[in-house]
Symmetry: C2
């Protein structure tokens, strides 16, 4: 579901990449902690020790899953959106890209939402990576909102960090409605909330 | 931190209630799955078998934690809020009560947010309980929004379910800012977002 890369990789890299792709899907469902090394090895037709040879430890695997996931997210969602000529178009593309990422690309919804709840109280490299990834994600929205001010689409003086904070709340609200309620209206509700935020930001 | 009850309980009930109070705090930090029976028993100065005697299984303990947590939440947050004379006052009281519950009463933030992410992909009684609890929670906001329409504070035709959905997104956004970023402005941002929702709902 996470489309394949075009970069040339040797066999070891291919195996590692395939393990991570499978691990990202499994972690989206059961969480990074819930992911069993045995279960992952079985799905990949590897021995547990063969799988460990690629990562070294469960901690290292968890971090590799997030790093690989964030890289794929960058390719699938962020890259094209950030190149759009107007700030509002970037905001819509990031938002829609995230919805597809969460709802279609991953078996168990956004990996980062799950991981952030798992690791928010646990200091260490996984938490640090998540904080940094989320800061960058918020930064994309606040930067795009800043561009929208420059475009004349948003009002001068808009609090761009509050805007990014609010849009993240809309996405988390979607995640709950989609994953917990299986609400068929989750996407419509999320778009409705997005449009209200965009409307409120106008000059 | 979750204040004590006034109902008369016998010794077995007291022990069970004390175990659950400790378990709610621990699960708010590490999640329902992360909660170790051994760790909980140790904190309560009980043997693992002594603890199991009160609940029977880890599944039963998880469900008991959520049921007890939701009951406490009802006493601490919901009961007084629902009695307020105007819908908007009820909405503010539910919202502020939840912020205190998540930020002050629990060591690791709202137990239900953590549990909903853990169990959203896992059918069974824990997930069913969470769906029902969240539906009731959403229902309180949509009912209060309906009363606010009757009070003349919200416009006729407001989509009360969308309103409840949106306010939940604001709370989840607070949870991430508070727990993952330890953002000192999290509460101010949440209130700002709430005021915008209330403003948008006006006639």
């Amino acid at each position: 579901m996470l489309s394949s890369r075009v970069v040339k990789l040797d066999k070891g890299d291919h195996t590692r990449a395939a393990i991570l792709e499978q691990a990202i899907q499994m972690a989206s469902v059961v969480g990074l902690d819930g992911l069993s090394i045995g279960g992952l090895a079985e799905r990949m037709h590897l021995s547990k020790s063969g799988l460990f040879a690629h990562f070294g430890s469960k901690d290292a695997l968890q971090l590799a899953i997030l790093k690989s996931g964030f890289e794929r997210f960058g390719e699938l969602v962020v890259a094209d959106a950030m190149r759009l000529p107007r700030g509002v178009a970037t905001i819509r593309a990031l938002f829609d890209g995230w919805l597809r990422w969460s709802h279609e690309r991953l078996d168990g919804g956004c990996l980062f939402v799950t991981a952030s709840v798992e690791f928010d109280d646990r200091p260490g490299p996984v938490r640090e990576f998540l904080v940094d990834a989320y800061r960058r994600w918020f930064g994309m929205f606040s930067e795009a909102a800043g561009r929208a001010i420059g475009d004349g689409d948003f009002r001068t003086g808009l609090d761009c960090e509050q805007f990014a904070h609010d849009i993240n709340g809309v996405m988390l609200g979607f995640n709950l409605a989609d994953r917990l309620f299986n609400d068929p209206h989750a996407e419509r509700r999320a778009h409705h909330a997005l449009e209200r935020l965009l409307e409120d930001a106008k000059p």
